[in-house]
């Protein structure tokens, strides 16, 4: 399954505005997409509550996975959001 491993660079972590943007972008896709913190359990990347509950802070690694049509483009977009400082 296509995946991206990204270090979250934002000072606020994957919270607040970056989290909202990340989830909104994932929610627009028709395919399933998950996000996990490090080697942890993957959660639905379209769920703001699940993403916030991961509590990803600056400098921590996440793994984003998706499969299906447009998966690579979507993963690139999500990775860019997560990696943006």
């Amino acid at each position: 399954m296509p995946e991206r491993k990204v270090i979250v660079e934002s000072e606020v972590g994957l919270h607040a505005r970056p989290a909202a943007l990340f989830v909104q972008t994932a929610a627009k896709a028709f395919i399933e997409v998950t996000v996990a913190k490090g080697a942890g359990e993957p959660v639905n990347a379209k769920s703001i509550l699940s993403v916030l509950a991961l509590d990803v802070r600056q400098g921590e690694a996440i793994v984003i996975r998706a499969e299906g049509e447009g998966a690579d483009a979507l993963l690139d977009e999500l990775a860019a959001i997560a990696a943006a400082s």
Binding site: E11, N44, S47, A53, D55, S85
Partner: protein, 589 residues
Amino acid sequence: MEALAGAGVSPGVGFGPVHRLVGGVPTPPADARHDGDAAAARRTALAALERVAAELASRGSSAGDEVRAVLDAEAMMARDPSLADRVTRLIGEGMAPALAVHRAFGAYREMFSAAGGYVAERVVDLDDVRDRAVALLMGLPMPGVPLVAEEPYVLVARDLAPADTAVLSKHVVAALVTEEGGPTSHTAILARALGVPAVVACPGATAVPEGTPLLVDGASGVVRPAPTAEEVDDARRRAAAREAALARSRGPGVTKDGTAVPLLANIGGPGDIAAAVAHGAEGVGLLRTEFLYLGRRDAPGVREQAEVYREVLAAFPGGRVVVRTLDAGADKPLGFLPSAEEANPALGMRGIRMFRHDPGVLADQLAALALAARNAPARLDAPARLDAPARLDAPARLDAPARPDAPARLEVMAPMVSSGADAAWFKALCAEAGLGEAGAMVEVPAAAVRAREIAEEVDFLSIGTNDLTQYAFAADRQVGALAGLQDPWQPALLDLVAMAADAAAGAGRPCGVCGEAAADPVLACVLVGLGATSLSMGAPALPAVRAALARHTVEQCRAAAAAARRARSAGEARMAARRHLPDLDDLGL
């Protein structure tokens, strides 16, 4: 019932039945089951969540940027697909919709609390969304503020949060009364912006039963439950006299003896221009620019910013527009600025401090402002009007009255200046950008104490009384219990204002006031007496301030200021000043 006493923070008289802001929504009974039709129960639950989301999103669209961000995030929570999965699973186990929604939120609530930090702080938002959905499913009144009412009501609460008040309007709310809060609290600022009478710090208010008729005097702070018909008539007569007096108050700000005191508006974006013009603002004394930056991944471009500045400049031909450069801090981090978690954001990297090492974002903002000024819609060299009123004895070149035949003059000022070195640095950066008029805000007590050296480096000073008060008394504006210390009538604050204004006059520079203090008509007279050369405030306060100034001479204002400074407390200062300002009665003050 006995009359209650609080602090009047937004003048006017309001009368209507009490509506108490609902505190909490009960937990659904632990044994609540649906009637066996799980599919129908699921539809009911998800429909309630969607209705909550839609309502939050629509409230957000009529709110300011910061409130909108909170409400949009709450709407996303209500529409969360994983939450919906949990609700579906719990309903599948037989739980009633309200209980299932409550439990589903409960799971996230635990995770959020355990995470700590930012995520734990979101529990408040989570609970708000949950309570709304549960109230809807249990047929209980929705927590929050009714948006429509047959007759305007008096909203009574312990304190009001931005989410409660984002959608309040004058047409449904006759007055606001809170037990907590102070003159600079959210409630007070909001009430003045709406033009709704308000009393804060009023003990016992939430004990008045729902529906009781309440008479609220937002000037004196007296709140009367179940008043007699005569009391209501009398209060209304005074309110009508005040309205009539305000309606007659027109034109530029000027004292009874002909000294011009330009009256300007504090605005948070182009959306506030209409109200400022409608209330006769001679320009903008404080344009907050954070709205351009909040909620973005990258800083706004120079051209994009310049368009917005030009729109504001175009609205005030012949007037002036004072722009405060970006005032960001750790409490509202921006993705494109460095930020670290700080225990005390108000005492941390905020205002120009943030740019002393890397001025990039600030330099772009100044370039955008210079670009807007170059394209302002008229020319600067239009002749002065001959009938211009006299000036205050400070050589108030920048505070000259508005001239409709000239373009708006752009001035920029830096927030959180604390030394002459800060001021000189900012002035040089402005000069580099091609901006002629650069000023410094006086918010840090050190800046008031050393105002002379700051004034010598820049073209004007502007006192931000809200922050100056919180820093002078080491009393956080968000802490309602410290309301007494956040009162701009405190003689110590008046002393600091006098120091800054005197120093500015000594250096030949104008000194405006742009905090909420200027919105209090009595205090506005005192500020002029202390040496303020212009006043800027939320637009709805302008007519009352204009009327109060027009009724008194500069000499009376000085006497009121001197009396207030001799007082030992904020309350005493107000009473002492009031005695020297005899012609406020018809304004209901």
